[in-house]
Symmetry: C2
Subunit: 240 residues, 2 copies
DNA sequence: TACCCTAGGTGTACGGCGTACACTCTGTCA
DNA sequence: TGACAGAGTGTACGCCGTACACCTAGGGTA
């Protein structure tokens, strides 16, 4: 009995909200969002599930805490940089954080309401636009243009072959060329160019995600800069 | 006994994959994705949960079927239009489908692999770029630029006040002005402009989501058009 | 007519989930 | 010494997806 007390009070540091959040993030990092259960986290902590509820209100609050932890990893804005550099670098930092925690984007989108931390992050991004000379109105449009990319979301809809060897994937798409001719053309182009630059799959891992992300990001930032300097704040749609 | 047989064979049309999918979509439309359970769908059909498994392999396959149903509502590309119009109108059609089925975007993103229907849709969108004179390479970049917006995703991260009366939301953000100064400025601008144009909330429902979506869409399409006509297919990033 | 086969719907059960609620400790302070 | 509080436990409930054995009606065949 006495040894048990010793063991508990000495070797086991007490539970805390912070420790729970750290463990939860670790569990999700390892097993993905769907492996994250109260029982699983508790088990990792050597404790029973209900013990967690003495420190977090419920699972949703825990998810919010995990989100805030990820947002907290995003670097603060660069001091003294022009708006475009500041925006660009911070979004890339956000992307790095999300790549470290692949479960985060889905969890963030599953939550109905953003946490105060996310709202604060958004406000700070708005501040970068405002400081960069954007009107409040154009800043508003700019935030909608950036969308969830402002949090570093890369939203690849095409990761499906990532578990497949590159040559196998190429063969697969070639076989489906009559059904998906354009994808086949794309795969052919990429694999024909330099297949050696990435050992991942063809569409998804085979193309350079980081390059594509920055390409899209720069296109948007360039578009916004053009509007910022233009007399009329509205892009010329196809109707105009 | 005989009446029961009559009732079954006459008044109850037999189960089928189509009928299950229709019912599942209806349930999700009414109660959201989180209300969609096999038991709930079965109940709606006056049948026991396990009966569904004679027509769909499992819940994931059912979700795929539901996704395909939504994608199927997207209009085909306009014949004979220029690439920009075709792309713009089809994306707006996709957005309309997603607005009819608010659960769909989350379900699509939750699935690890896209369905053949989604792959086909993507291929067809690629075809619009190619027919519009894009190189395969630029088409590839363009697809990444559009991201999930190509499926009509609007990904509003700021719907949090949508259940709140506009004046209440304005007061709330005004009170938080020291913590979120830029959001407060935005809210002030919108509510100061014309508060009457929408009875929804301020950030989220209060701004014109449709306008913002088209604004962002046009900015991207304009950016892509510029690249299409330019000698170098790469946007000038802030590093250049 | 007697038979069986098959497709489709049923019932039960299992292991997982979030969490309500009542409990038992253990350390603190009066 | 004894009351108290705060932390961890144990049990239980109602959900979930779904495996598996069962029943039953309709249809084809001998």
């Amino acid at each position: 009995m006495a040894t048990k007390i010793d063991e508990r009070s000495r070797t086991r540091e007490p539970l805390s909200r912070e420790r729970i959040l750290r463990t939860a993030v670790a569990v999700a990092d390892k097993g993905g969002a769907e492996s994250l259960s109260m029982r699983r986290i508790a088990q990792e902590l050597g404790v029973v599930a209900m013990a967690l509820y003495k420190h977090v209100a419920n699972k949703d609050e825990l998810l919010d805490g995990m989100i805030d932890a990820v947002i907290g990893e995003i670097d603060p804005p660069i001091e003294g940089a022009d708006w475009k550099t500041a925006m660009r670098e911070r979004i890339l930092s956000a992307r790095r954080a999300l790549l470290r925690h692949p479960w985060a984007s889905q969890v963030i989108e599953s939550r109905a309401e953003p946490t105060p931390t996310i709202i604060g992050y958004m406000d700070s991004m708005m501040g970068i636009f405002i400081s960069g000379g954007f009107s409040v109105d154009l800043m508003h449009h700019a935030m909608h243009v950036m969308g969830s990319r402002i949090l570093g979301f890369s939203q690849e809809l095409f990761d499906e072959t990532s578990s497949m060897p590159a040559d196998e994937a190429i063969a697969m798409w070639a076989q489906l060329a009559d059904r998906y001719p354009n994808i086949a053309a794309l795969v052919g182009e990429i694999s024909g160019g330099d297949i050696s630059h990435d050992e991942g799959s063809v569409v998804g891992g085979g193309c350079d995600d980081q390059f594509e992300f920055e390409f899209a990001l720069d296109l948007m930032l360039d578009g916004l800069e053009r509007l910022r300097s233009a007399p009329t704040p509205q892009p010329a749609g196809s109707t105009g």
